[in-house]
Amino acid sequence: MRHNGQRRNLRTLLMTSDGALSVMVVLLGFLCGTILILLVGRNPSGMYKAILQVLTGYNIDRGRFYVRYVGEWLAQSMPFILCGLSMAFAARVGLFNIGGEGQYVVGLTVAQFVALLGPQIPVMHWVLALSLAMLAGAAWGGIVGALKAKFEVSEVVATIMLNYIALYASRIFVMKIPGTNTYKTPDFPVTALLRSEFLERLTKGSMLNLGIIFVVLSVIVYWFVIEKTRLGFALRATGLNKEAARCSGIPVVRSIIFSMAIAGAFAGLAGGIVSLGSFKFGRVLAGNDGYGFAGIAVALVGNNTAPGTALAGLLFGMLSSAQPLMESNRIPKEITFIIQGLVVVFIAIRAGFRIFIRYSMKKSAIKETVIDE
């Protein structure tokens, strides 16, 4: 009987808490991943060993700590978290920002330009580069918001189109920089890089850089703006019921433009941090980095909340930095993409999960009444 009660508690938890459902979905994704590994005849422990090493730096087979892996994990997670926040912010206002990729590319491109052409003053240089990257992303998102608010252009279509424009415009402009070949620009001056000797020493030479400060700040700002400010109140009201918000005098048009611009700023910052943190030269993009699209999944798993998105971003970062370790453990690295995909699919059908839970709750309720009688 007690066991039964616990089961019912779990069900109620899954019905009422989006967070609990997300955790369950992630576990389910790993379960399926494990089964797949077994099916291809490998030992799934290899995957979990890799994950453990990414999370704690501890390598079970050698019994040693490698802190560098933790640093790499955090560094990998940064663009996932920021692009997740970008998607999530728009989603809280009821918009589907599929343009994180374009906003990211615009931010990345602007950061590269400032890095190569801006004033080489220490600190100021990369601060300026990141600020302008954010502004560029905000403008790129804001255009979509304005189109949506003023002319009722679907933000989905507009963002997809702007993604292409951003990518190819970036190529054209970056190739114009003197000394650029078909894939890279000259090296950035040192003043533009986000490298931090302190962080590198702390993590024994990982790619972890000053960007992490901005990521943490972004998560806090997101939470504060959405939950604690009157702007956030207006945005949330607009997202949950646009008509009622309008009826109450909330400037819905402004809300939409604002939210797309802020969403764009997060993605633009991600672009800036990747370009100045992970590379020593500017890139002529041959294709999308994919963080913008991954951000959609991150926000979905994180239920569009600040802490949820941060955790989901860390999950995606963990999966991607576990890939090389998994390969060396004879686990096909594609399994991480499959787990990501499964998690997203499961999240997308969570309404279905809920229906199933409600159905099974009802069934056990009937069973109990029968027993009572």
Partner: protein, 515 residues
């Protein structure tokens, strides 16, 4: 001796958190008109959905003419001769009457081609037999709501239903159309049909029903012979306590004009005429009612005042200030309150807590927001707790309760509390009691009268003529986007208003007297 048509025995239906039907019994005799009475949420619709096969009961049995049956879906119900006339019609608007009726059971000729002419003849014959006066070739979009309802009736007759369930059939009709509907129901009975009438309108029950079963909060209260009980007794059974029908209100003491609508013309959402050259004044301390059939410009009139849609020409003065070009926010600040018709769409953010909903219009002002734009949740919750107490809003979890988890009546009370707390000079009230139970209706009407007595100007738009007649000091009748008459309280009766609503008599003789 009459025989039993339907017997529902011990029907129980649970939804998560509620028992919609709790061991309900219902016996309907062959060829009777049986009313099912209850407040919103009493379980009438659930019970009928079970009979019609839309829901599976958790417990209980259904017997049809003494034989136990299992009705697994609406098709099974149809096969058993049970038909349902839904409250919200399920018709394809650009199809003809006949096409709608045969939809789903189209007959074809030898070559597999659609055979409409046979169906048309059958529809015409049925229409003739039951006095429905429906032309089988009319398109649905061209005929009135009352006629559309008759098409729904024909749909059930065409499928050879002999037990007809009417779900709140008079909700969308004018008084004349309601009278005609009552005649149709009597005619159906004469032709041997059994009828179940779901309603919360006591007058209709007295008019056509022989027996009446009353439900309250999912439980069976009892079945009575309608002839043996008064409307008051029925109401008491329904609510569980004595109910006052008449609102106690003193005479109006109108003061200066607070809302002055001058020659307003605007389009509706489809781009055709919404309201045309409409003028109306509301003074301080009076309630002016706008009567009319749904879709005659009420929504446009409300949108014009509240700013939800722009007007093409004319002026709207509040306190002698033209507000017609202001944003919605400026209008709220200028003293326009709005209790919207659709509380879920326009009134509340359902996923917000009640506290957040209570400050939806002034969240950006102190004390709820600091000058820097940071919200003060303590102040927001305080405000809500004050209003919850003052307006007797039942929120089990207090100020943090999600609006979607509250009952309709309490949601409406929350909106009213919010709007009144802003103390607007002009209060636009649309359908304030729609879908609410009698207790909440009584309370809300009292509040509206109290606001009048505080010197507010109140414009009440309602499709319930009773509400208008009961509550208003002056009545304006809206037909096809124009005011076709303004009368003082007591100058007109329901019938005259009904004729004006239908647009059959266009006189404006009393417009001057009403000004």
């Amino acid at each position: 001796m009459e025989s039993v048509a339907i017997e529902l025995i011990g029907i129980t239906k649970r939804f998560p958190g509620v028992v919609a039907n709790d061991h309900v019994n219902l016996t309907v005799m062959e060829n009777e008109v049986h009313a099912l009475l209850g407040e919103n949420g009493a379980g009438k619709s659930t019970l009928m959905s079970i009979l019609f096969g839309s829901y599976d009961p958790d417990e209980g049995t259904i017997k049809l003419r003494g034989k136990e049956v299992r009705i697994k879906d609406p098709n099974a119900a149809t096969a058993l001769g049970i038909g349902m006339v839904h409250q919200h019609f399920k018709l394809v608007h650009n199809y003809t009457v006949t096409e709608n009726i045969v939809l789903g059971i189209e007959s074809t000729d030898r070559f597999g081609m659609l055979d409409l002419s046979t169906a048309e003849k059958k529809v015409a014959a049925l229409s003739e037999q039951y006095g429905l006066k429906v032309n089988p070739r009319d398109r649905i979009e061209d005929i009135s709501v009352g006629m559309q309802q008759r098409v729904e009736i024909l749909k059930t007759l065409y499928r050879e239903a002999n037990i007809l369930i009417f779900d709140e059939p008079s909700a969308v009709l004018t008084p004349q159309e309601i009278d005609e509907l009552m005649d149709i129901i009597r005619r159906l009975k004469r032709e041997g049909k059994t009828i179940i009438l779901i309603t919360h309108k006591l007058k209709e029950i007295k008019a056509v029903a022989e027996r009446c079963t009353v439900l309250r909060r999912g439980k069976l209260i009892g079945t009575v012979n309608v002839a043996d009980v008064s409307e008051e007794q029925l109401a008491e059974m329904m609510v569980g306590r004595a109910v006052k029908f008449e609102i106690e209100k003193g005479p109006a003491k109108p003061g200066k004009v607070l809302l002055d609508i001058r020659n307003v013309t605007m389009k509706n959402s489809r781009g055709t005429r919404g309201v045309h050259n409409l003028s109306l004044t509301v003074r301080s301390g009076e309630i002016v009612g706008v009567a009319g059939v749904d879709g005659n410009g009420q929504t446009e009139l409300i949108n014009a005042i509240t700013g939800l849609s722009p007007i093409d020409s004319g002026e709207i003065l509040v306190n002698d200030k033209d507000i017609s070009c202001m944003t919605i926010k400026e209008r709220i600040r200028s003293g326009v309150g709005h209790i919207p018709e659709d509380r879920h769409r326009h009134g509340l953010v359902l996923d917000f807590s009640i506290a957040e909903n209570m400050v939806l219009k002034n969240y950006d002002k102190e004390p709820y927001s600091s000058r820097l734009g940071v919200l003060d949740y303590a102040a927001i919750v305080d405000n809500a707790e004050g209003l919850i107490g003052q307006y007797d809003i039942r929120a089990g979890e207090g100020a943090a309760m999600k609006a979607s988890n509250m009952s309709g009546g309490n949601q409406q009370k929350a909106i009213i509390a919010r709007e009144i707390a802003l103390s607007p000079d002009v209060l636009v009230v649309a359908q304030p009691t729609r879908g609410l139970d009698v207790g909440a209706i009584e309370y809300i009407r009292k509040r509206i009268v109290a606001e009048r007595d505080k010197g507010r100007a109140i414009l009440l738009v309602s499709f319930e003529l009773d509400e208008i007649m009961n509550l208003c000091d002056r009545i304006a009748i809206l037909s096809k986007g124009e005011i076709v008459g303004v009368f003082n309280e007591g100058e007109v009766d329901e019938h005259q208003i009904g004729f004006l609503m239908a647009g059959s008599v266009k006189n404006a003789t009393n417009v001057e007297a009403g000004r």
